[in-house]
C-alpha cells in the first residue's frame, strides 16, 4: 500500500463528489502529484483500484496532460509563459534570466530538487504580461530583475506555501485586474490549489 489511510479517505471524499467514480480521476492525479511531486506508478495502481479502471487507462490520462508530471519536480515549479502576449512584452528576458539563475533547461530539475523550470503556453494572464507561475500561483508584470529576485527569495526563504498575492506584492508589476478579492491561500507543491480537493493551502499571516 503506497497511500496512507488519510490520503485514501481524502480520495474517497473526492470520489463521492462525482456521479461516476472514474470522473474523479483528474483530482486524484493531483493528490498523487502533491504527494510525490509527480505521478508514481504506485499511485497509479492505487487510483486504478479506487476508481475501478485499469492502470494503463489511468496512465493514459496522466501522461497526456502536461500538468501531470511523470518525473519528480523540484519544490518550486517555475512555469514561464512563452506565448504571444508575453513574448511581445519581453518574456524572452524573463525566460533567460530564470534559466540563467537556475541553470536549468526546459523541463529540467536541479539536483537539490528546489526548482523545476518549464516554458509553457499562455497561462491566461496576458493582461499582465509577461507572467510566470510558481507552483501554478501566478505573478504578473515581471521583469528580468524581479524574476531573479523572486528566485533568490524562493531559494533562501524556502516558503512552505506559495501564495500568488504575496508574490505579486513582492515581485510583480502591472496586473490584469487589480480589483480581485485578497486571497491568502496558495499551494505547497507543483499542483494547482483547489479548495474542493484540498490542494489549496491557507498561509498564516
Amino acid at each position: 500500500m503506497s497511500w496512507e489511510k488519510e490520503l485514501i479517505d481524502k480520495a474517497n471524499e473526492i470520489i463521492e463528489m462525482y456521479p461516476q467514480k472514474r470522473s474523479a480521476l483528474g483530482p486524484l492525479l493531483y493528490l498523487a502529484q502533491e504527494k510525490d511531486g509527480y505521478i508514481s506508478n504506485d499511485s497509479i495502481v492505487e487510483i486504478s483500484n479506487l476508481v475501478g479502471i485499469t492502470e494503463v487507462q489511468v496512465k493514459s490520462v496522466a501522461s497526456f496532460y502536461s500538468m501531470y508530471k511523470e518525473e519528480q519536480t523540484g519544490k518550486y515549479l517555475l512555469s514561464v509563459c512563452k506565448s504571444i502576449s508575453c513574448e511581445i512584452n519581453d518574456s524572452r528576458s524573463v525566460i533567460d534570466s530564470v534559466k540563467n539563475f537556475t541553470g536549468l533547461e526546459n523541463y529540467e530539475t536541479d539536483t537539490e530538487k528546489v526548482f523545476t523550470f518549464e516554458e509553457v503556453e499562455c497561462i491566461g494572464a496576458c493582461g499582465g504580461a509577461p507572467a510566470v507561475q510558481v507552483n501554478y500561483e501566478t505573478v504578473e508584470g515581471l521583469t528580468s530583475e524581479k524574476s531573479v529576485q523572486m528566485c533568490e527569495w524562493l531559494k533562501e526563504e524556502r516558503p512552505e506555501i506559495i501564495v500568488a498575492d504575496e508574490l505579486q506584492e513582492k515581485f510583480g508589476g502591472v496586473k490584469s485586474f487589480d480589483w480581485a478579492i485578497k486571497d491568502n491561500t496558495g499551494t505547497s507543491y507543483s499542483v494547482p490549489g483547489f479548495q474542493n480537493i484540498g490542494t489549496a493551502k491557507e498561509k498564516s499571516q
Binding site: T54, V56, Q57, F64, Y65
Partner: protein, 778 residues
Amino acid sequence: MTDQIKINVNGSEISSKPDQLIIEACEDSGIHIPRFCWHKRMDPVGMCRMCLVEIETPRGKALVPSCTTKVSEDLVVDTESDVVKKAQEGVLEFLLINHPLDCPVCDKAGECPLQDQTMAYGPGESRFVEDKRHFEKPIPISEIILLDRERCILCARCTRFSDEISGDPLIEFIQRGNKTQVNTFPDEPFRSYFSGNTVQICPVGALTSSSYRFKARPWDLKKVSSTSNCSSVGDSVELNVSQNKMLRILGEDNEFTNQGWLSDKGRYNFEYLHSEKRIETPLLVKNSNKESTINETMELISNEIFTSDNRNISFIVGHNSTNEEYYALNKFVKNLNKVKNGNSVGSINLYLSDDYLYNGFFNDDYSLGEIKDLDSADTIILWAQDIKDNLPTLYLRIKQAVRNGKKLLIFGHTNTAIKQLSEEYYGENIVTNNFEFNVEISDIPNLSKYIDGKDVLAIVGKSSPLQNVNPIFQLVKHLDENSNLKILNCFSKGNTLGALQNLDIVKGLNEFVTEFDSSKKNIVFTVGSNPVNNSIYSHKVKDTLIDADFVVSLDLFKNETTELSDIILPTTTFGEKEGTFTNLEMRTLMQNKILPTPGSALNEWEYWLILSNKMNLLESYETEEELNSMLCKDYIDNGNTPSFDNLNKPSNLDGILNSKTINIEVENVDSTNLEILFVHRLYGDTSSQINSPSISMLGSERFIEMNSATYFGSYMLNSDVVTLIQGNNSIQVNVNINESLPDNLLVVPINRRGFQNLNPEKKVELEAAKSREQLSVT
C-alpha cells in the same frame, strides 16, 4: 420512420437504412470508402480521417468523415471528387511521415491496408525529408503479442477493441503529440483471452503475433473457411496454410456466431497439428509401442470383438469429431448390435467424455433460443459454467448485449468474472455452495421485475461436474411460467451437439464407471477423448481401463489414456478432415480440409468402415459426402438440411439451423457437501495445447481461488503461495482472492495438472508454502 431512405452518392441514387453511417450505407451498396480506424463491429471514433467525403450542406460542399456522419434523406455525397482525392492524398502523406519503410520485413506487407490504400489513394511521392520518429522495435506486450510502435498509425482499433469488445482495457494510448504510442502499464502485460483479435484488426503491422512472425507472406497462403472446435459456439474461421503447414487462423465475420472475433485459444491452438509428437502410425502399446499397420491392427481388433462370446463394448467419445464421424460410429454400434443377436457381443454403450453432460432441455418441451436472441431479449439469465473461459466468443456476445441495454442476471458462483456486467448477481444469498436454492424461487429479489411478461433468454447448464441439476429445472420451469422464455443449452465443448444429435443414446463418464461390469470381458474404445485426465472421474476411469480386457484409443497424441491402451490408432483432426459441426444453438456449419492426412492416419469414420467390413457388416458409404447425405435424412425439418451442398451455397455460409432428436441418459449426481468447485479454465493441459509452443505456457500456472473471509478466517493464511493437502495429495498452488465467491468454497481448475485426484466433497488443508516464487508445472 421509414424503413429505407434515399441518398445520392456520386450521382446515383442508393437506398440506405435511416441512422446508418455514410460509410456503411455506401459499403452496403458496393461503394468502397477507404478507412483505417472504422470497423463495423466497433463504435466510430473518426481518428484517421481517411474516410473523408464531400457532402452538400446548406452552406455549400463540406468535407466530413463518412464514418461519423449519419445519412439523412436526399443527402448528396461525393466520394470521388477532386477535393476528396486531395484530402485522401493529404491524410496518407501525413500518416506516412512517421511510418517506417520496413515493409520488406513486415508481416503485414501484402495484406496491409496502409500499403494498399497508399497505392490506391496515395500521393505517390513523399515530400518529407526530415528524420522519422523512432521507437524500440518491437516490444512484447504479452506472451503472444508484439508491438512495433513506429508502425502504429494511432487508429485506436486495438484499444477500442480491448475496452468496448473484450472488456479488458490493458492497452491504451500513452503520451501525447509526436510521442503518442500504444502501450501497456509496466508489469501489467496485455493478458487477455482475446488479444489476438487486435493483431487481426490492426490496419498496419504494428501488432503481430509471435506464432506467425516471419512465417509466411500472405500471397503464399492457401486459405479455406472452416469452423473452430474451440468451443460449441462454432466460431467461423479462415485457415491459412503454406507448404502444408497451418500457419494462422483468422476470425471470419459470421453474423450469427462469433461476428469476426476469436478467443486466443481458438486462434493460436493449432501448432500441435505439426508437432513431432503426433502419432502417425498405429502402435501396439503393450508390445512396447511397436509400430504396426492399419491392416494388422484392424485384424486384431475384429478378432477381439469376435473371438469370445458376450463382450461388453464401450465407446468413450470426445467432442472434436465431425457429425459424419459420430454418425459413422453410431452406425457401427448399430451394426454390432445386429451381430449381438448371434450372441457374440454383450451390451454396447456410448459415453461422452464431458463432466458437464446432463439431460438438458431438448425435444420440444421448451423453445430453444439462438445466440442472436441475446440482442432481442429483454433479460438474459445465466446459470452455467464460467462463460468467459468455456464459451469465450459467447461471452463477447453477452457483453455486447449488455452494452446495448439488455439486463443480465447471473446465478451461482461460476461466473464471478463477469459479475460487473450483471444487473443482479444471485450469489451466496440465493444459491448454496451446492448449487441449490436458499430461498423460494418466487422470493428471489427483483427476479420478477426482470422476467414477468418479458422476453427472456436463459443460458443454462451444469456449473460444476458434481451438481444436483434439479434446481436448474426448477428455475427454468419458473421462468417458463412467468416469461416468454427461450433456452440456450450450455454444453460448451466443441462439437458436443453434433455428438448428441448423431449418437442414438449418450451417457456420461459416471455411467461408464458405474455400469462397468468387470465380470464380463470388456472392450473399450476411446475416440478422441482422454478421460484419464481432466475429469472428476479420472481416477475411476483409470482403474476401469486397467481392469478392461482390451482398450483401443483413437487419438493424435500419447496421453494418460493411451498409456493404458492396447492399440493406438492415429486419427485426423481439425483442418485435416471434411465434415459438419453443430454448435450450441444447433446451427450446423462446414469444417473444411486443407491439410494432408499425416502419416498413415485415417479419419475416425474410416476405421469404423474398415471394421464393419472386416466383420462382413457391409456398409454402404465410402466418403464423408455419402455419410453426410445419410445423416441428413434424420433431421427433423427436411426443408433446409445441412448437407455439404446446402452448406456450400453462398446463402448458407453462416450455417443452417436444424435439429434432431436427442437422447441423453445421465443420472443426476447429487452433492450435498461441495468443498471444492471444479472449473474449466480456457487454457489447460490438453495434448493439443501442450504441443502448441506459442500458447503452451498459458495454462501452466496452478492457482486456486477463494474469498478473503475463507482465506483469513477459515484457513488463517497469509501467504499467496500455499500447499494444498488432501489425503495423499499435496500440491503447491498460488492463491487468488475473489470476493464474489461464497465462504468456504475453493475454486480449482480441473484442466490443469495435479488437481484431478482431489475429492470435491472432502475438505482440504492449506498450509503456507515456504517460498513465494511463482509456481508452474515444469
